[in-house]
Structure formats: structure tokens, C-alpha cells
Amino acid sequence: MATVDFHRVNKIYPNGAHAVRDLSLSIMDGELVVLVGPSGCGKSTILRMLAGLEEISRGEVLINGSRINLLSPQERNVAMVFQNYALYPHMSVRDNLEFPLKMMKTAKAEQRRRVEQVAEFLKLTEFLDLKPRHLSGGQSQRVAMGRALVRDPSVLLLDEPLSNLDAELRLQIRGEIAAIQRRTRQTTLYVTHDQVEAMTLGDRVAVLRDGVLQQASAPQELYQQPVNMFVAGFIGSPGMNIFPTIVRAAQDGRISINFGSRKLLVEPPREPAGFNQLRRYVNVPIYAGVRPEDFTCSDSVSEKNRVQIKVKAAETLGHETIIYFTLPILHTETSVPQGADRFRPDLIDTASGVSEMALRRPSSQRVETGSILTIGLETSKMYFFRPDGTTIT
């Protein structure tokens, strides 16, 4: 049982790469925090710094309030599950589970007792005498978990533990990990690049980009109140649609925004969050965002907020269909906010002059590629971002 505090932690590699910048994050006792972000965002580095496999360049890491920067991995009493399981191939499952206990010089009888206890807990008893190469992916994963849990660590670290499993097994093991964590209430830091995994597992999810922590919140909050465009675009599958827009104020004080070439009227009760703030950005190029599921049926919004789109591609997933379309960026009317497209260059392609968009539909309606679809935009469900990418609230 332990708390973990990162206090302005930095990692700078000898070649000058600044992998983690000023990370401050506290993990409560028994909490499962998921670090998520695209590859190369520094999430594994953070894990490795906590584990003692990487030096901490600047800042402090505390476990239970005491500084552990200079302690060896063993002294920190952390345990880690690796992406490729990292089971010792020449040892049987039993020897693998015993290894950390041997290193701790635990008494023989106690070793035996704990190994058997963990094996039973993880349903590994019948495999104890097998070598890892005779195990399936799921079994190997459980042994890796077992080896981490057997020494009763203060913090459990999981580095993309599911990425080597096939889709079905991933779902199953994800459930198992969640169940194990709930039963043991082990303080856990979990790293993944898969935001679905993050959202389903985490008590809190910490989103990272380029070594900088963007937001650490409960999954629902992360989804509903992203602090910036990056988090908005990263969370959700597909992520939030983001497009450049410009806010106009009519003489009567009513506000409109661009959706491609169309003007959408923002009027009560359809004001989005931060509507009053929005007035401060009249005639300033900013970004707007809308989640794929927040495009509504055309008849539930006023005629002014209906838009026709041309279907570029449609993915049928069974219960729903994801429809892709593009939205032109109007250079004549809107200049794209300077430098902000660095947030999601894949979403806003200024070179080709379009924003890639996706929307979600129940599969009951058949949609053909190339067909024209009328959709409604619920302005109350839209998000707006300043030119620097932060959310206007």
C-alpha cells in the first residue's frame, strides 16, 4: 500500500532529448492511474523512472512521502509487468515466481507458501512446472502478473501489458487485470497507448503529449471536459472532430460560427459551455470541436443548423456505422490559427484545405460511399479552443 508523488520530474537524455517535462502527479493509495499518449510521449520513461531503470534528471519522486530518486529498484519495492512479459525463458513458472523472493532472501518455506498462494490466485497451479515457452499468451501474462504480485510490492507498474495479445484475449485479460487490481487494491501505474484501455481501466487517466502532462482526470471528466484540443482529439474512438472556425457577432448580438462554408447560429438554449467567453473571440480564428456521436438527426435541430455532407467512406461496425467526410477549410473567410495545427496535424490538413471528420450513426440506416447525407449540428454540444489549443470554458 503506497502513495506516489511525482514532483516536477524531468528526464533529459545525454543526447539532449527532453523526454519528460516538469511532471507533477500524485497517485493515491490503491488507485489505478493510466498514463496514455501517442508513442514517444514519454509515458514509458515515466514508468521506468519510477521503477528505477532510468535516472531522474531533475525533480523528485516520492513513495509514501519519502524520496526514492537514488534508491535501487529493489529498495523502492516496485514490481513491473513488461510488454513482452519478460519471463525468464530458462526457468519454470515456479522458478520465475520465486526469483524476486530469492533476491529478497525470503525464507524457503515462505517462498513456497507465497508462490503457491499467488499461483492459486491467478489459476496457475497446474502450470508451475512448465517452462514459459509452453504457455499461451494469456497464461504468460498471468505469470508476469504473478511474478510482480508475489513480493507484495508497494507499487505495481504495468508497461503496455496487453499489446502483444490478440483482440479477444486482450479484452479478457483487461478484465482480469481490473479484477485483480480491485481485489488487491494495489497502487498501480499503467502505461498504454490505447485510449480505450485507458478509459476502461483507469480510476484516473493521465494524458501525455511530448513529455508534458496534459490532463489527469477521471475517464468521464476527461471525455466531457478536455482541457485542450489534444486531449479532445486523443480521447474517443474516433476522437473529437476538430476544425478551424471563426466566430461572428450579428448586430442584434447573436453569435454564429462557421462549419465549413455554412454558418451555424448559436442561440439559446443551444449555447455551448463557455459561451460567454466565446464572445471575446469574435472575428478571431479559433478551433471548434464536435464528437462523432454529437452530430444529431437533421430534424432535431433548426433548419439553419442542418448541413449536407458527402460520404467519403463508411465503416459498418455492426451496432453502429462510422461515416467519414471532409469539411473544407475556407481560407477566404477563416485563416487557420497560427501554429495550432501542431496539435493534431493528422486531423487538420491545412495543405489540402480540408478537415477530416467522422460521425457515428446507428447501423439501421444504410449509407453508401459517395451519397449525400443531411446532418444536424447541436451547438450546445460543441467545444471551442483558443488558437493555442486550450479549451474555452
Binding site: 528505477g52 531503470l53 529498484p73 514490481a79 513491473m80 513482452n84 519478460a86 525468464y88 525463458p89
Partner: protein, 275 residues
């Protein structure tokens, strides 16, 4: 058409195989023939199919020279080089591959250069050196200079650098230090490369001739290759005896290879060397 092609292929391959096997077969068969018949029959088919089999040549070798002594010398020297070499070079390679220390990259850049220098090139200065040390005519002088070996270091290095780092990280977190990680995690999973280095070192050192010839004078510490040269010039010239000597000299190499073959092949595959 296809079968003709296949037949031609087989014919070609069998011919090539026979050409390669012939000298070895000649040696084995010749060693089993009465000495007088070895040379006269060597141009005929009887070179490979002797009329009578005798072990007199083998007895001759033992009675004419102290073969057992030379065999022991060779086995002792080679085994020592292989054993010490495996330990020293594996540790060195692991330090190059995994530990961080000042000057590592500079020193490692010299390793490939060391590999291409043959013993003949440094034999004379080395000879002076060991003479100054007073090491001549010892086992020592035949073992020490050959323990550290750039090629072995390189082979080990290529294996260790490709060794899954996660296993080492896992062991570190489990509480193992660098030495324990190496001995308990890396080494047990590195059998192929150990076998490869052992076999290759054994082969090169077993045939070492120039250096032992330079630094030894009496038969007390001389190895087999020097002995066979001397035996060759020992009158009377008896080809059967020389061939018997040859068979006995090659036998240990075959034994070593057969023992390590399984791992050796895997090692050659995993380290990417070709024979």
C-alpha cells in the same frame, strides 16, 4: 525434363561431396593398412578399400614418439584457452554491450581492427615480450596470449546486444545486480553463442603451429601440430604412421563438434556468422 535436371543436380552434388570426403577417407583407410601398401595403392581404388585391416600404424605412433604427452599438451592448452577465453571474452563483451563506462565506445571501435591482425604479424614482437618475461617453454606462454580474443568478443557482443533488454530490466527490478543478471539470466540463455565461440576457438587453437614452434623447444610442452611436423621428418618415413597420427589428431575436433553441433548451428544462425 525435371527429373533429368534433378538427376544432374544429384550427380554434381555427389561428385563434389566425394571430392571433399576423399582426403579424409584416404587418411582413415591409409592409417588402417600395412605401411608398405599405403603409397603403392594410393592411386588405385584400393586406397579406399583395403584388403586387410591392421592397427599396427597406431601402435607404431605410440612406440616411436611420446604421443600421449603431445595429446595431453594439446588438450590441456586448448581446453585452457577455450575455458578462460569464454569467461574473459563473454564478460568483456557484456561490458561493451550493456554497461556504461567512460571510453567504452572508443575501445570498442578498436575491436574490429584487432580481428584482422593475424598472429603471424605480431609473432616476433610477442616473442621478444615473452622471452623477456622468461615464459618460453611453458604452457603459460601458449595459453595467455590467446585468451583475450577480439573475434570472440565480437561474437558475444552481437549476441548480447540483441538479448531482450526487458529480461535484464525485469531481473533488476526483482533485485538482481549486474553480475547476477549476467550469470543467472543472460548466460543460461546464451548457450548457442557460448558453443559457437567454444567450437571456433577450439578449432583455431587446436591447429596452432607457428607460435608453439617458436616458443617451445622440448617435447614436454609441445602440442600435436608441432609434433606431427617433427614426426614427418623422423626417419624412416612411414606414411601409414603419419596417417594414423593424423586420424588421432583430428578425432578430438570431431568429438567437440559433435557435442556442440546442436547449439553451434543455432549460434551461427543467431550471430549471423558464416563459416
Amino acid at each position: 525434363m525435371q527429373s533429368i535436371r534433378q538427376a544432374a543436380n544429384f550427380f554434381l552434388l555427389i561428385t563434389l561431396a566425394l571430392i571433399f570426403i576423399a582426403p579424409i577417407a584416404l587418411m582413415i583407410m591409409g592409417s588402417l593398412k600395412p605401411d608398405a601398401l599405403v603409397l603403392p595403392e594410393s592411386g588405385t581404388l584400393k586406397a579406399f578399400l583395403p584388403d586387410s585391416v591392421t592397427f599396427d600404424n597406431y601402435k607404431d605412433v605410440f612406440s616411436r614418439i611420446n604421443f600421449g604427452r603431445f595429446m595431453f599438451n594439446s588438450l590441456f592448452i586448448t581446453t585452457m584457452i577455450v575455458t578462460a577465453g569464454i569467461i574473459v571474452n563473454a564478460f568483456a563483451a557484456y561490458a561493451f554491450a550493456r554497461l556504461r563506462w567512460p571510453g567504452r565506445d572508443l575501445i570498442f571501435s578498436i575491436i574490429p581492427a584487432l580481428m584482422i591482425i593475424p598472429i603471424e604479424a605480431i609473432a616476433v614482437p610477442l616473442f621478444y615480450q615473452v622471452t623477456l618475461c622468461g615464459w618460453r617453454d611453458t604452457y603459460f606462454v601458449q595459453i595467455i596470449p590467446f585468451i583475450a580474443n577480439a573475434f570472440s568478443v565480437y561474437l558475444f557482443y552481437t549476441f548480447f546486444i540483441g538479448f531482450p533488454r526487458e529480461l535484464e530490466d525485469a531481473a533488476r527490478i526483482d533485485g538482481a545486480g549486474a553480475c547476477r543478471i549476467f550469470l543467472q539470466i543472460v548466460v543460461p540463455n546464451a548457450k548457442p553463442v557460448f558453443a559457437t565461440v567454444a567450437v571456433l576457438t577450439f578449432l583455431t587453437q587446436w591447429g596452432a603451429f607457428l607460435w608453439p614452434l617458436m616458443v617451445t623447444s622440448g617435447e614436454a610442452v609441445r602440442p600435436l601440430p608441432v609434433a606431427v611436423a617433427a614426426f614427418h621428418t623422423l626417419p624412416p618415413l612411414q606414411w601409414g604412421d603419419i596417417l594414423a597420427f593424423g586420424v588421432m589428431m583430428v578425432a578430438p575436433i570431431l568429438a567437440v563438434f559433435l557435442v556442440f553441433q546442436k547449439w553451434f548451428v543455432r549460434g551461427v544462425v543467431s550471430t549471423g556468422i558464416k563459416g
